[in-house]
């Protein structure tokens, strides 16, 4: 098993059969503005049902930061040297509860003027954590402080630890596109998958006692429509397509240019979501001069997230920017700019308003 390799699809066969083709995403972190459009687009599309109030299948975290659930990447799961790593089950508070707000008391109640609108947890306690709690707090030390945004969703791993951990075989990998789905009719809510997912992107629905997670908007994909988060990202940072297709932007960015890297390849789950790492502002030296040789974010922190390849990826991005600034062409920059927005969507560029929806009985 390789570690921190961007060529993750070349690794040994995953549990279950290898799909005909693999749906993949590249998220360009240089375009992510942390607006949570993807988060809200997902929320309004899928997670408003019973037991789903506190679910954020897609969430954007500020890095450095503790993530969602709290300390998401430090709770185990995934593999080390091919062996499963035991994972922890985050508590409701670590995930962030669905807060309650007492509108009635504020607008009509006796405590008017004395009470005020604020979040409360189910037991009335004041929250101390939630999704996106550490938004924009950042790291480093002023004026060399830094942060960036990292959208997280199901990685549709080629070595899906969740799938292997499920004793009910209720998690499956679709043959047609390699996306990972939970059969909610088979699922008994044991939550081994939650422990096993090293990115902690699987939620537990207490009311229905099932595990639920990002479904890559498969009903939309089936109609040729991009997922809700992708299609409504005003930052235009998601490239989607089939990784096996050598002409696809995802293939070009991951394999040809090697600027799109897996997150925590050391989890050994071979994710199929890749990230173009962030070019951060130049740092200052002690005299307050810009010093291009310094990185605001310690390199080891960037490498912890994106592996040792991150240096080369950033160097490639910078070199290509300079080529373009000097008037030379650059296919990489053209792909990343995506002058025609539909180019980001690969084969999933159908306008959903032009889909005749299915009538399910």
């Amino acid at each position: 098993m390789s570690t921190a390799s961007s060529g993750s699809t070349e690794a040994p066969a995953a549990p279950g059969s290898r799909p005909k083709q693999q749906f993949a995403m590249v998220l360009d972190l240089n375009k992510c503005l942390g607006c949570q459009c993807c988060t809200v687009a997902c929320k309004t599309q899928w997670t408003s049902g019973p037991g789903m109030d506190a679910m954020w299948w897609n969430i954007v975290s500020t890095i450095p930061g503790r993530g969602t659930p709290r300390d998401a990447f430090e709770l185990g799961g995934g593999y080390r040297n091919g062996s499963p790593v035991p994972g922890e089950l985050p508590s409701g508070r670590e995930w962030g509860e669905a807060w309650e707000f007492d509108y009635e008391q504020v607008f009509d109640g006796e405590g008017y003027g004395k009470t005020f609108l604020r979040p409360k947890e189910h037991d009335g306690a004041e929250p101390g954590w939630g999704p996106n709690w550490d938004e924009d707090q950042g790291g480093g030390s002023y004026p060399n402080s830094y942060f960036f945004y990292l959208p997280l969703l199901c990685m549709n791993c080629s070595q899906p630890a969740c799938l292997e951990a499920c004793p009910r075989d209720s998690i499956y990998r679709r043959d047609e596109d390699g996306i990972i789905l939970i059969d909610e009719e088979r699922c008994h809510g044991y939550r081994f998958c939650v422990e096993a997912c090293p990115y902690k992107r699987i939620y537990f629905n207490k009311e229905r006692s099932v595990a639920q997670k990002c479904i890559s908007c498969y009903p939309r994909l089936e109609a040729g429509v991009a997922p809700a988060c992708v299609r409504q990202c005003p930052g235009r940072l998601h490239h989607i397509g089939y990784l096996d297709d050598p002409d696809s932007a995802v293939h070009r960015l991951v394999h040809t240019f090697q600027v799109a890297l897996p997150l925590h390849a050391d989890f050994e789950v071979m994710p199929n979501v890749f990230y173009v790492p962030p070019l951060l502002p130049d740092a200052f030296d002690e005299d307050g001069r810009f010093d291009p040789s310094r990185s605001r974010m310690p390199l080891e922190d960037l490498e912890r997230l994106f592996g040792p390849e991150v240096q080369a990826a950033l160097a490639t991005l910078q070199a290509e920017r300079e080529r373009v600034a000097a008037g030379e062409p650059s296919e990489l920059m053209d792909i990343l700019i995506a002058r025609n927005w539909r180019d980001l969507l690969g084969p999933f560029d159908v306008d959903p308003a032009r889909v005749e929806p299915a009538r399910h009985r």
Binding site: P119, D136, R359
Partner: protein, 931 residues
């Protein structure tokens, strides 16, 4: 554009239970799709969306993303939207929604409400308006200007206030969005390029803005420009959320930005990097000035009876002074000397004169990089390096839409930025410029209200009339252009399309007097007591015609529609409740939700949300479209659209005036208002009662004017979702952009100035850096300079910054649960982590924030990104999200810069949204301690 009606994919009908995965397939269904947008002032927004309906209810919305590529090589605009927009449907049935007319059932603000009928509500309001008009005059009815006015609200409120004779307070002053420094320079505050024009920039300065929070639908152009080699700089005291993707962050000391800009100007001049032809043609820098009096050389100085407005340059060819042409920027055979000292004969004998540029050069000696760096806290190398880049590259300053102007000396900052752009030739070309906000463009909104019957002929007649008046004016004065004529007409109209500058209302009735007369909260260089300057401005007649209400016209009825005046007024809720509210006999709020102002009202009227009425995004040239929002569902309860709300009040006014035998009432301008025919006039005798008819007429009229395609109509926009502007139309601010829109090119304003030499609407007819008004000379602000921000709020250690938050459009979404769950669920004060530790504040502890003006309590968010000594209080949170309902505005004194009372000089005259004093709140001094 594609044919939107034809489905391209038909999904198979699945058998029930055939596949467990149908659980989710069955949730992605709908019956109907409608165009939508959010026609409120999430300005400049204009995001086309689609709402999906199931069983007659809105289930969700989605960015439409149907724009083509307009200019080859420039990324398209898709998909426009933000998290507020893509979750807007959650506001429709939110608990903060108002569904029925409410009458307070107890003391104001006590929170006790009784549901009443529309009839009861309108009767009470009508009687209160009639009582006020009879007792004091029509001016006793006041509408503050919020900016969340959709099309029907703008139309309804505009017509209602015009007919009743009430006062509408100027929007820009209420918003504090007036960019005085840009106005001083260009005679208009609002040149605006289209967002896709950003892609052409080579150097991008995010300066007084935080686009990652506030320009979510547009900010991708920055990332894309960066990938074609553009360098992005974020200039802000904090390592702002918009520094994340910058190449450089310049951590300026708060309020020192003019020094930075002038430091760069010094380098540009000192190193010979000035764009001389640009400076010579576009600016006043070659004009002659007397260095002793610091006044331009005028024809009135040279010949008996000469014009006060005719200025001069020195012709280097002939060695003689020449009149600077007023009708063109081109000099012809004259070679104006940019610098030098010359002797001219005047009525008072020979006088040594110099050029404005020479005076600027002399002043800039104070800003050579080593000295400027000391002021702004940067390294001199940084200033030099950036100045050289700006001089050599297409440079764009992206500020918030009035960000710098929210500083006491924001005008000096903007004038300094404009000077940098002038010296380097950075406006009027793609990828350049700086901007505030602009409105106008929807000509039909103006024409429909003037019509007596439907159809194109009256709109055509209005255009013909306008054109013929303009032709006559241009014939009489060949130095005029359409732009100058349109703006001069607005300036001499004695008002601003129904607006009055609110400074007089505030001073006389709202409680600002106490703060404004505190000399120590103003700039130390204010030469005389505020009261004296105030008196001089009024006595000089600089504000005659718009200095209403008078002392004897106290307000009695206040109608808040489209805003939240108690939340937003700098100076505080407390101030308004103590000073203004007791004078008001009737406070009415028309809103979709329980705002802070609604909670302190006598009557709250329920309004329709987006998707429940027809409207358009606020039209501008940030996005070159008129963006359509259809009515997809009926409003809930008894909510109505704003036009209908005002119509119902007008109807009752008419009935009550007749019943009470109220004769027509005359206002301060001598105009007569007949309340007994209010409904007939409001509806044009029943013609304007149906929103479909009104909107259709507006669109058709705009087609007649030519700003929209000739086929524009409600049916047509229902097919397309938006129209692209075909011309600037006839509104002065749109005409002021001075560039013809193109279907295949991004938009950048001022091309007619730069390419065709059309003059500017300023005193000198050029971009003007010398303001030789006596007050400006007295303040030593005749030229751009840096001045330290005054200690507004008293001597306290922290400087409080602000800005729009990420999670709400103003306060519209601020109480909405979905948005609250994407952050900490309430307001927070950002503070540097070391400052917090020193004060004994841990993350999320509640702090008491206070100064000599007031105080509020708020949890802190400790951050590595905040500058030590700075606290950031993002605005938009409603009062009832703070303990005791006291928010940051209670600690913001709302000072305005005394100089902005100046008038009687060239372009320093009020017109709607333009030259006037506006309270500021950045750099308020506060102390912070654990609560």
């Amino acid at each position: 554009m594609s044919n939107e009606a034809t489905p391209v994919v038909t999904l198979a009908v699945a058998e029930a239970g055939a596949d467990q995965a149908d659980r989710y397939r069955s949730r992605w269904t709908w019956d109907e799709v409608r165009w939508a947008s959010h026609c409120i002032d999430c300005y400049p927004g204009n995001c086309p969306m689609r709402v999906y309906l199931r069983d007659g209810k809105v289930v969700r919305e989605e960015s439409a993303a149907t724009f083509p590529v307009y200019q080859d090589g420039v990324p398209d605009l898709n998909p426009m939207g933000c998290q507020k927009g893509v979750g807007w449907s959650r506001l429709l049935d939110a608990p903060e929604r108002v569904l029925y007319p409410l009458r307070r059932d107890g003391e104001r603000g006590q929170g006790k409400w009784r549901r009443i009928s529309w009839d009861e509500a309108c009767t009470e309001i009508a009687d209160a308006i009639l009582d006020a008009a009879l007792e004091t005059g029509p001016e006793a009815l006041v509408a503050p200007s919020g900016c969340n006015l959709g099309t029907l609200a703008l139309a309804g409120r505009g017509k209602f206030m015009g007919l009743t004779g009430g006062l509408t307070l100027d929007l820009n002053a209420e918003m504090n969005d007036f960019a005085a420094g840009q106005y001083l320079t260009w005679g208009m505050f609002d040149p605006v390029s289209s967002v896709d024009d950003w892609f052409h920039s080579e150097v991008f300065l995010i300066w007084f803005g935080n686009p990652n929070y506030t320009r979510i639908p547009h900010v991708h152009y920055l990332a894309e420009a960066r990938y074609r080699g553009c360098e992005v700089y974020t200039i802000s005291p904090d390592v702002s959320p918009s520094a994340v993707h910058a190449d450089y962050h310049l951590p300026v000391r708060p309020g020192s930005d003019a020094a930075l800009a002038l430091g760069m100007c010094q380098v540009v001049i000192d190193e010979g990097l000035v764009n001389e032809s640009f400076v010579a043609t576009q600016t006043d820098l070659p004009l002659l000035v007397d260095p002793v009096t610091r006044r331009y050389l005028r024809a009135s100085d040279v010949v008996e009876g000469g014009s006060e407005e005719q200025l001069f340059a020195w012709d280097a060819t002939t060695g003689r002074p020449v009149e600077a042409p007023r009708g063109t920027l081109w000099w012809g055979d004259v070679r104006p000397a940019l610098e030098g000292t010359f002797t001219v004969d005047t009525l008072h004998g020979p006088v040594q004169v110099t050029t404005v540029l020479s005076m600027v050069r002399e002043r800039l000696a104070d800003y050579e990089p080593e000295r400027a760096a000391e002021v702004c806290g940067l390294h001199p190398d940084t200033i030099r390096a950036l100045a050289r880049k700006v001089a050599r590259h297409r440079t764009n300053i992206l500020g918030a839409l009035g960000g710098a102007s929210k500083h006491y000396h924001g005008d000096l900052i903007e004038r300094s930025q404009a000077l940098l752009l002038a010296l380097t030739g950075n406006w009027g070309r793609h990828g350049t410029g700086m901007r505030a906000w602009v409105g106008g463009f929807l000509d039909g909104l103006i024409t429909f209200a003037l019509k007596t019957h439907r159809g194109p002929d009256e709109a055509a007649a209005i255009v013909d009339m306008r054109d013929s008046v303009m032709r006559d004016a241009l014939e009489a004065d060949p130095t005029l252009t359409e732009k100058i004529w349109a703006i001069e007409a607005a300036r001499s109209g004695g008002g601003g399309g129904g607006f009055v500058p609110p400074v007089f209302f505030w001073y006389r009735f709202a409680g600002y007097k106490d703060a404004w007369e505190r000399r120590e909260w103003h700039d130390p260089s204010m030469p005389r007591p505020f009261e004296e300057l105030w008196r001089e401005a009024i006595d000089s007649g600089w504000w005659t015609g718009v200095d209403t209400p008078r002392e004897d016209q106290p307000p009695q009825v206040l109608i808040e529609c489209g805003g939240n005046v108690l939340r937003r007024t700098r100076g505080g809720t407390k101030m308004l409740l103590e000073h203004l509210w007791p004078q008001l006999k009737m406070v009415v709020t028309m809103d979709v939700r329980m705002s802070a102002t609604a909670t302190w009202s006598d009557i709250v009227l329920p309004m329709a949300q987006q998707y429940e009425k027809i409207g358009f995004g606020i039209p501008s040239c940030h996005v070159m479209h008129l963006t359509f929002c259809d009515k997809a569902v009926e409003p809930p309860g008894e909510a109505v659209d704003e036009w209908e709300g005002f119509r119902r009040i007008a109807e009752k006014l008419e009935v009550r005036a007749r019943e009470r035998g109220v004769a027509p009432v005359t206002d301060a301008w001598g105009r007569e208002h007949d309340y007994g025919s209010m409904h007939v006039a409001f509806t044009a005798d029943g013609m304007w009662t149906d929103q479909e008819v009104i909107i259709d007429e507006m669109l058709r009229d705009s087609g007649v004017v030519g700003s929209l395609p000739p086929e524009a109509s409600l049916d047509e926009v229902r097919r397309r979702g938006y129209f692209r502007w075909e011309s600037l139309g006839i509104t002065p601010r749109a005409v002021g952009q001075a560039t013809e829109p193109s279907a295949t090119e991004t938009f950048v304003p001022f091309r007619k100035h730069v390419e065709d030499g059309e003059p500017y609407p300023t005193l000198c007819r050029r971009a003007q850096f010398l303001i030789d008004h006596p007050w400006f000379i007295e303040a030593d602000e005749h030229l751009p300079r840096h001045k330290e921000p005054p200690a507004s709020g008293g001597d306290h250690p922290f400087q409080m910054s602000s800005g729009h938050n990420r999670w709400s459009i103003h306060s519209l979404n601020t109480a909405n649960q979905l948005m609250l769950e994407t952050h900490r669920g309430g307001p927070h004060l950002v503070i540097n982590e070391h400052d917090a530790a020193r004060l004994g504040l841990a993350d999320h502890d509640t702090a008491r924030v206070f100064n000599d003006r007031g105080e509020f309590r708020v949890p802190v968010k400790t951050s590595a990104a905040a500058r030590p000594g700075q606290v950031i209080m993002y605005n938009g949170f409603d009062n009832y999200q703070f303990p005791g309902w006291a928010g940051p505005n209670d600690a913001e004194p709302g000072m305005f810069k005394w100089l902005h009372l100046a008038g009687g000089y060239g372009h320093l005259r009020y017109w709607g949204n333009e030259w006037q004093p506006c309270p500021v709140m950045r750099n308020t001094r506060v102390s912070v301690e654990p609560a």
